[in-house]
C-alpha cells in the first residue's frame, strides 16, 4: 500500500517497521537455532531470501505481537522491542536483541506524507538484516535448549491490552553489547543492538 503513495505516512511507517520486526524476529530465531531449521521456509523480501517459520503456534504468537506493535507504533507509544533468549535449563537470559524505536511525534499532528523513498528504507532494512545474519560470527553458541520471549517497552500511562502483562526487563548481568545498524523511515527510527552473556573461558 505504501508503494502507491508518494511519501511515507505515519500508518505506512508503522506498517514498514512492523513488517521489518516480523521478518527480523524470524531471521533471529532461524539464525540462533531456537527452532529447528526444518520448520522454516524460504521467502523473498527486501530483495533477499529470508526464513519464515511454518510452525502455526509460533506464527500465531508472532502475528499477535506484531499486530499489537503496529497499533502502538501508530500511536507512537512504544519505545523498545526486545527479543530475549533464555536457557530452559538454568532459566538464565543468554541473549538480548534490543530495538530502540524513536518516533517523531510531529508526524501525528501533521498528516502530510514525508519524502523518503521506500527503496532507500528497504536498503537500510536489508543492511540491518544482513548484519543480524552476520552476527552469528561473534555471538557465542547456544548449546542448550533455549526459548525466546518478546518484550515491549511502552509509555507508563499506556493501557495494558488484553492478554498482555507486565514483566521485568530481563537484563543479562555481565553482558557484552554490540550496536548494529539503524534505519529510519523519517517518522520512526529503529536502532538495533544485541547483548549477549559474556562467556568466561
Amino acid at each position: 500500500m505504501t508503494s502507491t503513495l508518494k511519501g511515507i505516512t505515519l500508518k505506512g511507517s508503522a506498517e514498514l517497521v512492523a513488517e521489518f520486526f516480523s521478518f527480523g524476529i524470524n531471521s533471529i530465531l532461524y539464525q540462533r537455532g531456537i527452532y529447528p531449521p526444518e520448520t522454516f521456509s524460504r521467502v523473498t523480501q527486501y530483495d533477499m531470501s529470508l526464513q519464515l517459520t511454518t510452525d502455526t503456534k509460533l506464527k500465531n504468537y508472532l502475528a499477535n505481537v506484531v499486530s499489537q506493535l503496529k497499533e502502538w507504533l501508530f500511536d507512537c507509544t512504544v519505545q523498545k522491542l526486545v527479543l530475549v533468549i533464555t536457557c530452559l535449563e538454568t532459566n538464565e537470559v543468554l541473549e538480548r536483541w534490543q530495538f530502540d524505536i524513536a518516533c517523531d511525534k510531529t508526524a501525528k499532528e501533521s498528516s502530510a506524507p514525508r519524502d523518503k523513498s521506500i527503496k532507500s528504507i528497504q536498503e537500510e532494512i536489508r543492511s540491518v538484516i544482513r548484519q543480524i545474519t552476520a552476527s552469528v560470527t561473534f555471538l557465542p553458541l547456544l548449546e542448550t535448549a533455549c526459548s525466546f520471549d518478546l518484550l515491549v517497552y511502552t509509555d507508563k500511562d499506556l493501557e495494558v491490552p488484553d492478554k498482555w502483562e507486565e514483566s521485568g526487563p530481563q537484563i543479562i548481568d555481565q553482558s557484552e553489547v554490540v550496536r548494529l545498524r539503524s534505519f529510519t523511515t523519517s517518522i520512526h527510527k529503529v536502532n538495533s543492538m544485541v547483548a549477549y552473556k559474556r562467556s568466561d573461558f
Binding site: K80, Y153, D155, W164, S167
Partner: protein, 694 residues
Amino acid sequence: MDIDDDTTVFATLKSFKNFISLPDASLNQGEPAPAQSNPLQRQYRQRIELLEAAEKVQSKTQQIHEDQEKRQMAMSHKRARIELEKVASLSARDLEREVDRNQELLGRIRRLEEREVESSKSLSEQVEANRALRRTQETLNLRIMERDAKLNASYQTVSILKDEIRELKQQIQSKQNIIANQTLATQGLQEQMELQQRKYQEVSQRCQDLQSASSTCSDHELKIKDLERKLALQEQDVVIVKNIKSEVAKVPEMEKALRQLREENIYLRETRENVTLLKEETEGLRRKVERMEKLKEEMVTMELEKEKISQKLQAWENLGQSTGLDIHCRSVERSKADLQGELLVQRSKALEEQKKRETQESLVRRLQKRVLLLTKERDGMRSILESYDSELSTNDYTPQLTRRLREAEDVLSKTQNHNAEMEVQLTKAQEEVGALKLQVQTMELDLESLKKQQASVAEGNPLVTTEEINTLRLKIEELEAERQRLEEQNNVLELRLERHDLEGDYDPVKTKVLHLGQNPTSMAKKQRLEEVEALREEVQCLREHLRSLQTGGAVPAAVGDLGVTVNLPPSQEILDLRKQIESAELKNQRLKEVFQKKIQEFRTVCYVLTGYQIDITTQNQYRLTSLYAEHMDDSLLFKASGGAVGSGGNMQLMETDFSRTLGEMVDLHLHHQKSIPAFLSAVTLDLFSRQTTM
C-alpha cells in the same frame, strides 16, 4: 585405222613388188648364168612360178579381202561418218559449250584483264608508291645520312666541347685556385679590414668618448651651473625646509597639543556627556522620583490595603489561625520584589540605551573631528601647493618640487594613518571605557539595590551587611564547588544510564515492559515443568515397582494402588516367566538329585567291586584308597597327562608314602608290564593277604 592399215598394206605390197622386181632383174641377170644351174634354175623358176602363182592367188585373195575390207571400210566409213556426225554434233555441242565457256572464259578473261588492268594500275600505283616510298626512303636515308653526319658532327662537336669543357674545368680549377688564393688574400685583407675597422671603431669610440666627454664636460659645466642654481635653490629650500621642519617639529607638539586637546575634548565631552548623562539621570531620576512618588502613593495605598489586610489577617488569625493567609503578605512582598526587579531591569535597559546614545554621539563627534582635520589638511596642502605654484612660476624646479610634494604627501599619509590608528585605538578605548562604565553603573545600581534591600530588610544594621556579603561569597564558592561535583556526577550517571539503556534498563517512571502472557518462553517453561513432574512421577512409580519386585511380591494387586492399569500387562509376563523359572529350577534339582544318586551308586559299586575308592583331588589327579588299606592315609596318586582321560591320555603314578612301600610291584607291573590294572590288583591282593594273615 583401217585406213592406216590399208595404207600399210599397200605399202607392203609395193615393197613386195619392188622386191620381186629386183630378183627378176637379178634373175635376168642370172640367165646368162650358166646352163649348170639349169636344174636349179628350173626348180627355181618352178618355185618362182609357184610363188608367182601363189602370189597371184594371194593377191586375189588379197583383193577379195581388200574388197571386203573396202566394203567393210565403207560400212565402217558410214558408221564412222554417223559416229563422226554424232561426234560432230557432240563436238558441236561441245564446241558450243566450249564457245560458251570460251565466252565465259573470255568474260573472265576480260574481267581478269580488267583486274589485271586494275591490278596493273594498282601495281603501277604501288609501284609508284613504292617509288615514292623508295624516294622517301631515299630521302629518309638521306636525312639519316645527314643526321648521321650531323650526329657525327655533333659527336665531334661533343668531343670538341668535352675537350673545351675539360679545358674550361681546368681553367675553372685554375681560376678557383686563383679565387682561393684571392679569397685568402681577401680574408687577409678582410682581417686587415676588420683590424682597421676595429681601430676605426676604437678611434671612433675614442672620438665619441671624446665627444661624449666633451659633451659630458659641457653637461657637467651645465650641471655645475645647474647645481650652482640648485644650490642656490636648495639654500632657499633649506630655509623653507627649516621652516617646514620647524613647523614639522611643531607637529608632535601639535600632536601632543592635539592629544591634549582631544583628551580635553574627550574630558569635556565626557563631562558634557556626564552632564548630559547626569541631566538625563536627573531627568530619569526625576521620572523615577515621580514614579517612586507614584509608587509611594501606591505603596501608601498598598500599605493602607496592607493594614486593612493585616487587620483582616489578624481577624482571620484571631478567628482560626488555620489557613495560610500569610500568603497575602508574601504576595505583597513578592509584588514588591517584582517591582524592584522590574526597576532594575528598566534601569539596566535605560543604561544600555544611554550607552548606545553615548557611543553614537562619540562616533558623530569623531567623524566631525576627522572632517575638520581633513579640511584643515586640505587647506594646508592647498596653501602649500599654491605657495609652490607661485614659486614655480618664478623658478623651474619641477622635479624637485614634485619630489618635495611626494615627500610631503607621504608624510601626510603617514600622519593620517597614524591618526586613523590612534582614532581606532581611541574608539576601542572609549568602548572599553563605556563597557566598564556600564559595568560600574550596573554594579553601582546593584550595590544601591542591595543597599536598599539591606536598608529595607535590616534597617540600622550597616555592619551586618559586610558580614553577610562575606558569608554570601563563601556560600557562592561552596555552591560552585558543589555544582562542579554535581556536574561530574551527572556525567558519570549519564554514562551509566547510557550503558544501562544499552543493556535494557529503563526508567520505571516513564516506561513499562509488557509481554504477552502466552509467550514461547513461559510455555516452554511450563512444558519443562510438566515434563519434569511427569518424569518424577514415573521415577517414583518405577522405584516402588522395583521395591515391590525385590520384595518378591509378584502379585500385581499389591502394586495396584499406584495404578493397576500400568502394571497389569508386565505382571502376566512376569508370572509366566516365574512359572518357567520354577519349573526349570525343579527340573534342575531333580536332575541334580538323580545325578547325585547315580554317581554315589557308581562310586560305591566301583569301591566294592574294584576295591579302590577313586577320588578326584585336583584336575587330572586321582587318589585311590584301597578297601584293605592298613592306614587311612595310604593312597595312591595317579596323574593323567596329555589332556583328559577320556581322550586317551597316559596315567602316571605319583610318589606317595604308600607307593614307596610298593616299590617292587611298581617296577614289576608298571615298568616292565606297563599295566596299571595289574599293579592295582597286585596291590589289593597284597593288602588283602596282609589283612587276612594279620
